[in-house]
Amino acid sequence: MNAELRSLRTEAETALAESFAAARDSLPGSATVKAARERAFAAFEGKGLPHRRTEPWRYTDLRALMRTVPPRAAGAAAAMALPADPLPGLDRARLVIVDGVWRPELSDLAGLDGVTVTATERLLAEGDERLGGQAGRLDDAMVALNTALMAGGVAIDVPSGVDITRAVEIAHVTTGAVATYVRNHISVGAGGSLRVVETFVGADAAYQANVVTEAVIGDRAKVVWAKLQAEGATAVHIGTLAAAIGAEAQFDHLTLMTGAALSRSQSFVSFGGEFARAGLFGATMVGGRQHADIMLGVDHAVPNGASRELFKAVMDGRAEGVFQGRIVVRPGAQKTDGRMMTQGLLLSEEATFSVKPELEIFADDVQCAHGATSGQIDEDMLFYLLARGIPRAEAETLLVTAFLAEAIEGLGDEAIGEAFEVVARDWLARRGRTVAP
């Protein structure tokens, strides 16, 4: 009786089934990997594309929104110019992934002494158990689809005790109307540190990027992780981070979403050791008819963990912003301290913001809270700035930047934070130009 009655396959689901059937024999991987692909695709087929009765996808009805699927990327074009730097001025090493494939010749690995960088294809060929170690915990159709079709990406391995001070960017670039299934893996050994920047940019083409990044953060490790989703205007972005953090580790994570027609960014963080701390932040800026969904899952599986969640979203035009956040405190996870806040700012009458914060607490000695607000620009604050002679567009930009800054600065990394604030200001400047008479 539990079997869900599946409606007929949609056009997109049919295309995905055909795509998998055509690729299943040529996709990279050992026998174990091939078996995992088959299981994953069967799981995907069983569920189909997520829809509004799929509770975690309630506000992003992919079955209705994703009508077609472009062909799977067949490797990057031989020669290409990289798009403009999405984070000018930010010093970092770069691992460039073009149309789903890591391109070492376009990459810059300076400052990564002691770090091992491997192509995902090699991990697949060797049946490396790191793949699936974190994503395998997730019961999500789009993650299963990624597992079935994953074909490229990078694995970054920071050994125990190694501090990498230079930021490392995983730059995802898509050049045309293709579907990509990238799988990345990052491990930071005990006491190590790493600053990761994940960027997503692409052509103005109806491409679909489904990226899953797995991360294992060791005991006492310190990781800063900032994601910039600035995909092309007609793209679909489905990005998932599955991270496990060890005892006394510090993990700070910021997701900034501004691109794509349809985007969903999922971050799942699991506490595996005591006295770890996670800061999870988000800044969404969308307009027009964009749809941007952030899904957050925090699993306090052990005692004495602390997490802070602050998500801000600015919606203009007829954009739809979504935030679903779920903090779970498992039985026995005493002294957990979790606080989640989400705030939406609506810049137009037609924009919407849907929020579903959840706390599930199975321990009795915890401090947990969540809150959500949604509103327009504060009229009193706006008048204060106008009364000083600051023009309306500039005053609104100041207030919106300030609204987002709290989340961006939460990351606690000044250089990355500044680069991301520039992205926010640029978005507001573009908005200012489009609303000006």
């Binding site: 009229e379 009364a387 000083r388 600051i390 309306r392 005053a395 207030l399 300030a402």
Partner: protein, 249 residues
């Protein structure tokens, strides 16, 4: 400088200003006193151009020009400054960023060149020292975590930097202890000049011991009901507003 004729203003269909007539010539300081609810703060907002009020009748001439339809930011650029009764805390906007944005926006609106950073810094430093506004305060987000006195000093700092032609001080004494009142008053007095007018709105006479007005007006139920010299403030202090509240009702 400022000439208000038969000004009527309503909010949400409720008439608050019921025919204000007021002239403030250049270089003069006028005080407006009145009981709570008489419309004093509404007058300050209407003069500064806050949205949400319906001006149903009358006119506001500033430097001979009708400004009833002029947006707040343009009024500011023309030289109208409102020192807020409750200055807003704006987290995430650095005080210095705000000051520079305001000064340059007004300069730009007047067709003047933007200030260079050193020139801006020099001006802020000079005015801040006089008002006991510390560098630490200037580093904070605008008014965030400021005490009542610090907020009011920050208002007067903005007034000093923006050099308005007309300064409206709305209950600038509220929330100030006697020392803070002196610092703020000294700051205001230092800005008195033959080509700058001030409209000082207050409930209590004590501010007027420090900022001595040329003319005192009594406002009740949305009208100016009496005008006189500084001695009028002392009379109000002694007798209260009971006469005016009764008369206006």
């Amino acid at each position: 400088m400022l000439s208000i004729k038969n000004l009527h203003a309503s909010i949400d269909g409720r008439e608050i200003l019921r025919g204000i007539d007021l002239d403030v010539p250049a270089g003069q300081v006028h005080a407006i006193m009145g009981p709570n609810g008489s419309g004093k703060s509404t007058l300050s907002y209407v003069l500064a151009g806050r949205e949400g009020y319906d001006i149903t009748d009358g006119s506001i001439l500033f430097d001979g020009e009708e400004i009833v339809e002029t947006p707040a930011e343009e009024r500011a650029a023309k030289g109208i400054f409102l020192a807020f009764q409750y200055p807003l805390e704006i987290p995430g906007v650095a005080t210095m960023t705000f000051l520079k944005a305001a000064m340059n926006a007004q300069r730009k609106a007047r067709g003047e060149a933007e200030l260079t950073t050193p020139d801006f810094m020099r001006r802020v430093k000079a005015s801040a020292e006089k008002l006991n506004v510390t560098q630490e305060m200037l580093r904070r987000p605008l008014n965030v975590g400021f005490s009542g006195g610090e907020k009011k000093r920050n208002e007067i700092l903005q007034m000093a930097l923006l050099e308005p032609k007309l300064a409206i001080l709305d209950e600038t004494d509220s929330g100030l202890d006697i020392d803070a009142l002196r610092v703020v008053s000294d700051g205001v007095n230092a800005l008195r000049s033959p080509d700058r007018s001030m409209l000082v709105i207050t409930h209590y006479q004590r501010l007027l011991d420090h900022i001595v007005p040329d003319v005192v007006h009594v406002m009740a139920a949305g009208r100016i009901v009496r005008s006189g010299g500084p001695e009028l403030a002392l009379e109000l202090e002694a007798n209260g507003y009971a006469d005016y509240v009764g008369a206006a009702a």
